[in-house]
C-alpha cells in the first residue's frame, strides 16, 4: 500500500513473502509500488495484461479497483490481502489482527510501569481500530484500570507514511505517561519506534518483526504474516483457490515476535501469561471482540 515497500512493516512483509517464494522456486515476479490512488487501476491492468498470474495485491484500497478489473481478466487469478472481494477469480486473505493485538496488549500492560500505554494508528479506518480495540482488550485483561492513550495519524493514505507525525504523537503520548506504545501505522511506525527509542520508552512493532530496528527498545512486534499469505498465493500460482481465507492465531496468521533483540525485555513469566492467553484464544475460551464486526469496542473509545 501507499506506505511504501520499505515501510519496515506491512508492505515489506509482503515483499519478503514474494522474495522467499522467488528464492525457493527460482520463479520471477514483478512488484509495483503505487505513487498515488489514481494509479492503482493502471498498475493492476498492466500486470494482468502482461500475463502475470497470479496477481497479488496488499491493502484494502485495492478493493474497489479489483472489483472493476477482475471481471475483465477472467482467466487471471488475483489475491488481495486485507480486503474481501467477491469475484470468481479472486482470493481474499484477511487477518484476525485483533487476536494478535490482544496478545501484544497484554505484553504492554505487563511491561508498563506507569499503568499507561499508548496506541498509534495509521489511517483512521475500521481496520486500524480493529488493531487498537484488540490491543486495548489485551491491556485491560492484564490490568483493568490501565489507561490506553489512542491517537490516529491521519485520515488519508498519507497517514501510512508520516514518520514526523508518528514521532510527535509518540512524544505526546509519553508526555501523557505512556511508557509502552503500539504502532499500527505502516511507515509512520518507523517514526514512532524512533521517538520511543529516543525518549527511552518501549514500543511495539507491527506486521513484520520490527524488534531489530532498535534492539532492546522494541518490546515486541505484532506479527501479521502477510509474507505467508503472499508466499502461499504465489506458490499456488495459476491454480490459486478463490474465496475468503481468514488467518488468525489458530493458523499462525498472527502472533507476537520473540528474538534476541527483545529477549532482555520479556521475562519468562510475561511470555508464559501471554502464551496461555494465546492458547485460550485458539481454543475459543477467550473471544477477542472484533471491532469491524459491529464498529464498537468494549475496551476503548475512538
Amino acid at each position: 500500500d501507499l506506505g511504501g515497500k520499505f515501510d519496515k512493516s506491512f508492505n515489506e512483509a509482503a515483499f519478503n513473502g514474494a522474495e522467499r517464494w522467488a528464492k525457493e522456486t527460482g520463479g520471477t515476479y514483478k512488484e509495483l509500488e503505487m505513487q498515488d490512488e489514481a494509479q492503482r487501476e493502471q498498475a493492476l491492468r498492466r500486470l494482468a495484461e502482461s500475463g502475470a498470474n497470479p496477481v497479488v495485491m496488499t491493502g484494502f484500497a485495492f478493493g474497489d479497483v479489483l472489483n472493476k478489473v477482475a471481471p475483465d481478466f477472467p482467466n487471471t487469478k488475483f489475491a488481495i490481502v486485507d480486503m474481501v472481494v467477491e469475484q470468481p477469480n479472486v482470493k481474499s486473505v484477511v487477518f484476525n489482527e485483533h487476536e494478535g493485538s490482544y496478545l501484544v496488549g497484554m505484553m504492554a500492560a505487563l511491561a508498563s510501569k506507569t499503568g499507561t500505554v499508548g496506541f498509534i494508528g495509521g489511517m483512521d479506518i475500521p481496520l486500524i481500530r480493529k488493531f487498537g480495540c484488540g490491543y486495548a482488550q489485551g491491556v485491560k485483561a492484564v490490568n483493568p484500570d490501565a489507561k490506553v492513550v489512542i491517537n490516529m495519524t491521519g485520515t488519508t493514505p498519507a497517514a501510512w507514511n508520516d514518520p514526523v507525525k508518528g514521532a510527535e504523537l509518540a512524544k505526546g503520548q509519553k508526555a501523557q505517561g505512556a511508557d509502552v506504545i503500539y504502532a499500527a501505522a505502516g511507515g509512520t511506525g518507523v517514526g514512532v519506534l524512533q521517538a520511543a527509542a529516543d525518549e527511552g520508552i518501549l514500543s511495539i512493532g507491527v506486521d513484520s518483526n520490527q524488534n531489530y530496528l532498535h534492539p532492546g527498545k522494541v518490546l515486541t512486534s505484532m506479527l501479521k504474516r502477510v509474507d505467508n499469505a503472499v508466499y502461499e498465493a504465489f506458490k499456488e500460482g495459476e491454480n490459486l483457490t478463490p474465496g475468503i481465507n481468514v488467518m488468525g492465531l489458530a493458523n499462525d496468521g498472527v502472533g507476537y515476535a520473540m528474538d534476541e533483540n527483545n529477549a532482555s525485555l520479556v521475562t519468562p513469566e510475561m511470555q508464559a501469561k501471554v502464551d496461555e492467553a494465546a492458547a485460550k484464544i485458539k481454543s475459543g475460551e477467550i473471544v477477542v471482540h472484533d471491532y469491524m464486526s459491529d464498529n464498537t469496542c468494549p475496551a476503548a473509545t475512538f
Binding site: 490512488e37 489514481a38 485520515t155
Partner: protein
C-alpha cells in the same frame, strides 16, 4: 542582439531546449547506472508501439491539454496561474457532485452536466485569487499556490467527512452510476477495432481537442482575446485603450480555472468513475511545462501534451519493467520547465550567436 528568424523562434528554440532537457535526463539515467537507450526503448515500446500504450498516452495527454490550455490563456493576460492543480481537483469535486446527486438518463447529458460542474468549480476556485489580484494586487502566483494547498485540505475534508460512503475505508466517493459512464476508446465504434482491450482514453480526448480550437479562436479572433493579449503585453496601454483590467483579469482567470477544472471529466468521470484523493495527481503542474513547451499556442500545447502523455505512460512503464524509478518523469518534467521556461534566454543567445556566425560566413562567401 539581433532577432531570430520566425521559424527558429517558433520551432528551433523549443526543439533545442527539449534536446538539452533530454540530454541531461540521459546523463541522469547513466549516473544511476542504467542504460538510457534501454529506457527509451521501454518507454516507446510501452506507450506508442501498441494500442494499449496509446490508450494511456492519449488519456494522459487529454488531461495535460486541459491544464496546458488553462496556463496558456492566463499567460496571454500576463497572469501565471500555478493553481491548475487545485482548480482541477475542485473540478473533480464538481464532476462527482453532478454525477452522484443528479439523475442522468444518458451519458451524453451526463457529460454535458459534468463538464458544466467541472468548469464551474474550477473557475470558482480561480475566482478568489483573480479577484485579489485585480482588486488588491495580491501576487497571483503566491495566492494560487496557497489555494492549491487549501484545495487539497478541502478535498480531504470532503472525501473523508462528507462524501465517503459509510462502511468504506478509503477516502473516495461511491462509484458513479453506470449511466454516467463515458465511452472509452475501446467502446467507441470504429476506434474499438484498434483499441481491443480496456483503455482509459475516452471521448474527453475530443473535447480537449475542441477546446484547443476554441482557445485559439478566442485569443486571436475575438475582441475579448484581443483585449486579453493587449492587457497581457502592457497594462498601462490597456488602460489607455479603455480595457478594464479588473474585468480582463477576472474573465481570463475564470476561463483558465474552468479549463483546468474541465480536466476532471477525463480522469474522474472518464477513468476512475469516482472521486479519489489527489485526483489531479500533478497534471495541474504539468500544465505549466506543457504551456511553456507549446509556446503558449494551442497547437503547441496539443503537441506538448502528447509528448508529456508519452513521457508519463513511458515513465510508468519504466517503473514497471526497469530498475529506473518512476520519478524520472518528475525529473524530465523539471528539466523541460527549466529549459523551455526559465533558460529560454540562454537558448536564444546561443542560437543568435550561431545564426550571426552563419551570416558572416555568407558575407565572406559573397
Amino acid at each position: 542582439m539581433d532577432r531570430l528568424p520566425r521559424w527558429a523562434d517558433v520551432a528551433l528554440v523549443p526543439f533545442v531546449s527539449l534536446t538539452l532537457a533530454a540530454l541531461i535526463s540521459a546523463l541522469v539515467i547513466i549516473a544511476i547506472g542504467q542504460d538510457p537507450w534501454e529506457a527509451i526503448k521501454v518507454m516507446v515500446q510501452g506507450s506508442v508501439m501498441n494500442a494499449y500504450g496509446w490508450g494511456y498516452t492519449l488519456y494522459y495527454a487529454t488531461s495535460f491539454m486541459f491544464t496546458g490550455l488553462a496556463v496558456t490563456v492566463a499567460f496571454h493576460a500576463g497572469l501565471f496561474n500555478i493553481g491548475g492543480e487545485g482548480q482541477a481537483q475542485l473540478g473533480g469535486l464538481g464532476v462527482a457532485l453532478v454525477c452522484l446527486f443528479l439523475p442522468w438518463p444518458h451519458w451524453t447529458l451526463a457529460l454535458l452536466g459534468a463538464s458544466l460542474g467541472a468548469a464551474l468549480f474550477g473557475a470558482a476556485w480561480a475566482a478568489i485569487p483573480a479577484y485579489l489580484q485585480a482588486k488588491r494586487g495580491s501576487h497571483i502566483v503566491i495566492t494560487t499556490i496557497m489555494f492549491n494547498y487549501i484545495a487539497a485540505s478541502l478535498m480531504i475534508f470532503m472525501l473523508v467527512d462528507v462524501l465517503r460512503p459509510p462502511g468504506k475505508m478509503d477516502p473516495a466517493t461511491a462509484n458513479f452510476p453506470p449511466e454516467t459512464h463515458l465511452p472509452s476508446f475501446n467502446e467507441i465504434p470504429g476506434l474499438n477495432l484498434v483499441f481491443t482491450s480496456g483503455v482509459p482514453a475516452n471521448v474527453t480526448f475530443f473535447i480537449a481537442l475542441a477546446m484547443a480550437v476554441v482557445v485559439w479562436l478566442l485569443l486571436w479572433r475575438t475582441r475579448l482575446g484581443y483585449q486579453i493579449r493587449a492587457f497581457g503585453k502592457s497594462e498601462p496601454a490597456a488602460r489607455y485603450a479603455g480595457i478594464n483590467p479588473t474585468r480582463i483579469i477576472m474573465i481570463t482567470m475564470l476561463i483558465s480555472g474552468g479549463l483546468a477544472g474541465l480536466m476532471a471529466i477525463n480522469n474522474v468521470m472518464g477513468e476512475a468513475e469516482r472521486l479519489l484523493g489527489n485526483s489531479a495527481s500533478g497534471a495541474g503542474f504539468i500544465g505549466i511545462a506543457v504551456a511553456l513547451m507549446g509556446r503558449n499556442h494551442p497547437v503547441g500545447v496539443v503537441l506538448a501534451a502528447l509528448l508529456f502523455g508519452f513521457l508519463f505512460q513511458g515513465g510508468a512503464e519504466l517503473g514497471l519493467w526497469t530498475k529506473i524509478p518512476i520519478e524520472l518523469r518528475t525529473v524530465v518534467q523539471g528539466l523541460v520547465i527549466l529549459f523551455t521556461g526559465a533558460l529560454d534566454m540562454m537558448v536564444r543567445m546561443l542560437l543568435t550567436r550561431i545564426f550571426a556566425l552563419f551570416r558572416t560566413r555568407k558575407l565572406e562567401a559573397a
